[in-house]
């Protein structure tokens, strides 16, 4: 709440004339670029095509899980939101995996397990699984549908 507003009380501004042509040019140029990006769905952040929740959702949802394979034969799921902020959302790189070489995938998978390795856990690789969830059946757990990739170096 604003209690004492004396600090923001100042003398009124002097009256100014119409905006100059450089100002007009800036305003029109900015609005034109903004409107073109919006209309043509061009992404050039922070300029954007405003594509938010445009895809149709269905009862079946596919998702992925990234699993660290440990030297002792065990495994540990990588929960991205539990990793440092810089790792959040990076699992979306999986959508680019089909177009990547194995070496590029290995580099990314190694990056994902770096926090585990920093904690002294011996990781020998990464497995990416695809899961199917039936949203209309709340009591049914997500089902493993297939293994998508093996990546990472030991």
């Amino acid at each position: 709440m604003i209690g004492d507003t004396r600090a923001i009380e100042t003398t009124p501004d002097p009256v100014r004339g119409s905006p100059s042509w450089p100002v007009r040019a800036f305003v029109y140029a900015f609005l034109a670029v903004f409107l073109v990006c919006g209309a043509l769905e061009i992404e050039h952040w922070p300029l954007t095509g405003f594509r938010l929740y445009t895809e149709l959702r269905t009862e079946e949802r596919t998702s992925t899980r990234v699993i660290a394979l440990l030297a002792d034969g065990g495994s540990e799921e990588i929960v991205f939101v539990d990793l440092p902020f810089g790792y959040h959302s990076t699992n979306r790189l999986l959508s680019d995996f089909p177009d990547m070489t194995q070496a590029e995938r290995d580099e990314i998978c190694d990056a994902w397990v770096q926090p585990l390795r920093d904690d002294g856990v011996e990781v020998v690789g990464v497995r990416v699984d695809e899961y199917l969830t039936h949203l209309g059946e709340p009591d049914r757990s997500p089902e493993l549908s297939r293994e998508l990739y093996r990546c990472g170096t030991s």
């Binding site: 923001i8 009124p12 905006p19 952040w45 405003f50 594509r51 949203l135």
Partner: protein
């Protein structure tokens, strides 16, 4: 054609009160300050270079900056934002806070996923970078130089929502509202740990009519948002509706779009008009004898 362009020019560059420019600059600066002060940008440091996928201009960097750089930008930005709120050299302090905020948010968006959470706030604030300096909320007479910044920001907000609705129609058609699309989005929210509660999403999932009604209402509000450009009286209603809308999105899906709410309130509502009322009330309270 010339007639249309003249009308647009006449509307955009019509006179307006300096108090509105003060309101926009101060409001945006306050939000930047809060976001910069509370943002977890330092957590971006140490990200492996293989995971760094920056957007547009940020591609000049080959990896995430160090924690020292991130902290310096965050602190400097927050201080400049606070000074802009106090109207101290407002043009420069505002610009400094703006660019610090945009730089850090661009880095947040460098984690592969394009982030829309702050774009409306950032884009609506761009016109203020070139706006004349208005250091007082008291200058309420119309001036030729002061009308365009609020109208340019209003154009950004109005078309931002309009394009959001248009994108849904273009990609999914009316099925976006007539199918079970929203129901399944909400059902995914129920299974997610992000929302603070799953009760509201579950209630909507259990009532198809409500989910479909909400989907139609969403499209209707987004596509009709351009009305705020021509019907000033509609602005408080749209501000109230989208505030509820984003609150609902947070409660059902756990998505933080409060910067969009802030942009809408700052741009659509002349909140600075409340200052004299608050002043009068506090003066009255100070003058009245204590009853305790």
């Amino acid at each position: 054609m010339t007639g249309v362009l003249n009308r647009i020019d006449g509307w955009l560059f019509a006179a307006g009160p300096a108090s509105r420019v003060w309101g926009l600059r101060t409001g945006f600066a306050a939000v930047f300050t809060v976001r910069l002060a509370l943002g977890e940008y330092r957590g971006l440091a140490g990200q492996p270079a293989a995971l760094f996928h920056p957007p547009s201009f940020w591609r000049a960097l080959d990896q995430m900056p160090s924690v020292e750089v991130l902290t310096a930008v965050q602190v400097v930005g927050a201080v400049l934002g606070f000074l802009a709120v106090l109207s101290w050299r407002p043009r420069w302090t505002f610009a400094g806070a703006f660019f610090c905020f945009v730089f850090l948010e661009g880095l947040v968006g460098s984690r592969v996923k394009i982030s829309h959470n702050e774009v409306l706030l950032i884009l609506a604030a761009v016109p203020i970078l070139a706006a004349p300096v208005a250091v007082s909320w008291r200058a309420r007479d119309d001036e030729p130089a002061m009308g365009w910044p609020p109208r340019a920001a209003l154009t950004v907000v109005a078309f931002g929502y309009f394009f959001t609705g248009l994108g849904k129609l273009r990609e999914a058609g009316l099925s976006w509202a007539t199918s079970d699309n929203l129901k399944w989005s909400l059902a995914a929210g129920v299974r997610s740990t992000k929302p603070p509660t799953d009760a509201i999403a579950q209630f909507l999932v259990d009532h198809d009519v409500l989910a479909n009604g909400l989907a139609f209402a969403t499209l209707a509000v987004e596509l009709s948002f351009l009305l705020v450009l021509f019907r000033p009286r509609s602005r408080p209603w749209f501000a109230a509706v989208v505030t509820s809308f984003h609150l609902g999105i947070y409660l059902t899906l756990g998505l933080d779009y409060f910067s969009w709410v802030a942009a809408v309130i700052i741009v659509l509502l002349p909140w600075e008009d409340l200052i004299p009322r608050i002043q009068a009330r506090s003066a009255k309270r100070a003058m009245s004898p204590s009853t305790s």
